[in-house]
Symmetry: C2
Subunit: 222 residues, 2 copies
């Protein structure tokens, strides 16, 4: 298999990220490309979740993935090997987040003519990525059970900006003090309209609900 | 019980953080106060680990804790209730890290005359906190088993700047694909001198080794 494309993205020169993000969103709308910004802590299972989801959706949608990482191309290779879709790696050069211009640099590395759904796997971090609009149509995040149900109390902005919270690793719920109802309550404290979908990326449980959500989203964007 | 002190720390005005950090370290040396900077992802078990460790050490050392968080005072209250030691909350006002000046503002809220060991629980984040010298004597970090053993490959700087890596939640090792030997290998790739101590903060397993490490460190600082 060919090595994956690696793009070294540069720090943005734009002062007004919100304006730039709105412009990017409007360009994506014209091209009929739906962009999802997926955020989480390190090790919450973003890549495994994406592989499961893409394999459920790849016959219905043309999907591409951008894997943002400070270093390494582990994730982009994993996605490409496991799903066969377009997958590229974005190196952030130590930056802890992506903004709209950096996302645009990533999108330029994809063949967008062939894409209905582009997914940006943001840098693993619950703080900085939430501060920057990437130009995505929606923000989603993964909270994994071992991290604890109190995270919406501690990382308020992340949960305020997300339209969807995937609660991953529900298979290990018996071994952790994680209260799903409390988690939903805390999420809704930050964003009353956020959807919460419990999943287990390892076994596939619940991933079909995320795939359905994505399919609805992409179809309503066209 | 009295409510914990909450300090709203301000963004640093110093241009040269490294210089400021070295100055702070030298002031702490004069005062005989050892400062540990403890970093990790959100939900890795920093607070639970500290409670266990402090209860093992509080008859041997005078300990104080600064809990940095974007919001909430959950952690400082937990530490105070469970150990009875000096514990204050630092609110970072959305900032994703602490630098030396912010740490200095925190230390000013402690009664340092009565402290041998001050512990800074940094913001839960594997990226930004690693970029700023806080003025601490040592950096330590917690990597929890559910996050995966590949994290030193993905967050190189964090593992380069840490003298000690605590691998937490080893009780759930059977439920995750976590290879401790591979983890050690990856940690040493980033910092050949880093110590790795496997622990389970929930059951207390291995925490005595961390307490011994701290005791040696503090005694050699005097």
């Amino acid at each position: 298999m060919d090595p994956v494309k690696i793009i070294e993205i540069k720090k943005s020169v734009f002062e007004d990220n919100d304006k730039d993000a709105a412009a990017l969103r409007s360009e994506l709308k014209q091209k009929g490309v739906y962009l999802l910004n997926l955020m989480s802590s390190p090790g919450s299972g973003k890549t495994t979740t994406l592989i499961r989801t893409i394999n459920l959706l790849k016959d219905k949608l043309r999907i591409a993935v951008m894997e943002a990482d400070i270093d390494s191309d582990v994730d982009a290779v994993k996605i490409k090997d496991a799903t066969g879709i377009q997958s590229i790696q974005l190196h952030t050069g130590g930056m802890c987040h992506l903004d709209a211009e950096m996302t645009r640099q990533g999108l330029a590395g994809l063949d967008l003519e062939d894409v209905d759904l582009a997914i940006l796997e943001n840098v693993g971090n619950l703080v900085c990525p939430a501060e920057f609009d990437t130009g995505s149509c929606r923000n989603a995040m993964i909270l994994s059970v071992p991290e604890g149900h109190d995270k919406p109390l501690k990382y308020p902005l992340m949960f305020s900006v997300c339209d969807l919270v995937l609660v991953n690793k529900i298979d290990v719920m018996p071994y952790f003090d994680f209260d799903l109802e409390k988690c939903k309550e805390y999420v809704h404290l930050r964003n009353p309209r956020a959807e919460v979908i419990p999943i287990c990326a390892k076994t596939g449980e619940g991933v079909d609900a995320f795939a359905d959500w994505l399919l609805r989203e992409v179809n309503s964007w066209k």
